[in-house]
């Protein structure tokens, strides 16, 4: 059966892969290219563990053919951070928004899009945005707290950086622990209409 040569930009790095028509994006990312942030959970589009951003949109990568994504910019949860933890990742850490962490990469990718579009979401809006990300162990209270905290810190950082470039430590607090293996700066989020 036919194979296709595709090019993806993953976390800022140009990657090439040869895929079958039926190969799913999540498998190309994980198995072919080694980007293991997106996890495979339900495989049916329901749990959101495989969420990555494709051209700025949070997408369940188990329900997209790799060949459909040819030419796209993909950002995984690991690519959200430049170095160390990004403010969203740090907030999940600080607020105990995870237990086993299986759902976390997907939660982070979805949260990233939410906060891009709505920097000051209500708790109800946070819950609505994370509806497609199922957590099997920690419950959602701390996750919602984490998103709220991240939003507040990002807004503060935004206010502060109004009159000059910031030093990159977005909320001024000390980063705890080593960050994930962020490979490169994430692409600019695409403007939505």
């Amino acid at each position: 059966m036919a194979t296709h040569d595709i090019t993806l930009t993953v976390n800022g790095t140009t990657e090439e892969a040869t895929v079958e028509s039926r190969t799913l994006l999540v498998h190309t990312l994980r198995d072919e290219l080694g980007y293991t942030a997106p996890n495979v959970g339900c495989e049916s589009g329901k749990c959101g563990a495989c969420t990555v951003e494709v051209d700025g949109d949070a997408v369940k990568s188990c329900t997209v053919l790799a060949v459909q994504a040819d030419g796209s910019e993909v950002t995984t949860a690991a690519g959200l951070a430049d170095e160390g933890l990004d403010p969203v990742q740090r907030a999940f850490h600080d607020e105990h928004g995870l237990q086993c962490g299986y759902c976390t990469p997907g939660m982070l990718a979805t949260t990233h899009q939410l906060l891009d579009e709505n920097p000051d979401p209500s708790r109800a809006e946070i819950r609505k945005a994370l509806k497609g990300n199922i957590c099997r162990c920690t419950g959602y209270g701390n996750v919602v707290d984490a998103v709220e905290t991240a939003a507040g810190r990002l807004r503060e950082a935004d206010d502060e950086s109004g009159d000059g470039p910031s030093d990159g430590s977005a909320d001024g607090s000390s980063a705890s622990g080593a960050g994930p293996d962020g490979r490169a700066a994430p692409p600019e989020p695409g403007a939505e209409d």
């Binding site: 039926r22 190969t23 589009g45 329900t63 053919l65 459909q68 609505k128 509806k131 939505e192 209409d193």
Partner: protein, 308 residues
Amino acid sequence: MFPAEFDYERAESVSEALERLEHHADADVEILAGGHSLVPAMKTEGREPDVVVDLDVPALDAVNALDDRTVVGALTTYATVADSAAVRATVPLVAETASEVGDLQIRNRGTVGGNLAEAHPGADLPAAALATDATVLLRNPDGKREVPATEFFRGDGETAIERGELLTGVRFPHTDGAGFAYAKKTHPATGYAMVGVAAVVETDGDGGGDGGDGNAGGGTVSSARVAATGAVDRAVRLPSVEGALAGEPLDADSIDAAAAEARADIDADRLRSDPHASGEFRGELLETYAARALERAAERVAGDAPTA
């Protein structure tokens, strides 16, 4: 979990897509839009097409608001529709319904055309298409064809689309100024509508126009379109509810009386049943959600509630 093997082809224009469909006339061909029904079905439901034609046609991803109607291209995603200022201004029910589909990620990929073509019995947009009196736009090798939404849905997964035909868009007559609402009871397992009711209600106020006095119920219903999804094998209008409202003031009593008619048009043995909800329970949900949709529509006629 992989789909079975198939050949993938990409079409970058409507005519190219039609050519490919014609070329593979003897094969089992599926069109790929957002893929969010097709890809899961190819993984777990034994859908095994020989060829998948991926629609990659930017012109079909567009919202076009004209004087009295808005045309939404087949490849427009729910997220785009829900956020579109033009859709919110001209057919706000459609924006509200799109914002209720699935979850954020599904709304980023699923398309208006795919939703209608798939015709899942619990899909959300078919209810909005019926309640707004929309028309489905089709293209085939011989030209164009238009099918009113009321004639489009034929059953579970069955529509008026013929082999070799492409859904290119949907035309929604403007409903700005009318009360509207989509009230959905989400199925806990699938996310689709266990029951969803969409309503568009127009009233004849004394003052008319938009110089209304904000007096709730100050006018009678001149037209009501009410549609349900999830209850039977396809989305359906509820003519008995619509009839009960006509000529009545849009108040709590008339809404209750109209909602009580919600089951009148549906044979009890047609009601869908699954482990989460028996047909009988769906029938009860239908009345409750009809009442909720009409209450919210009435508030919006009165200008008390924000638009979508």
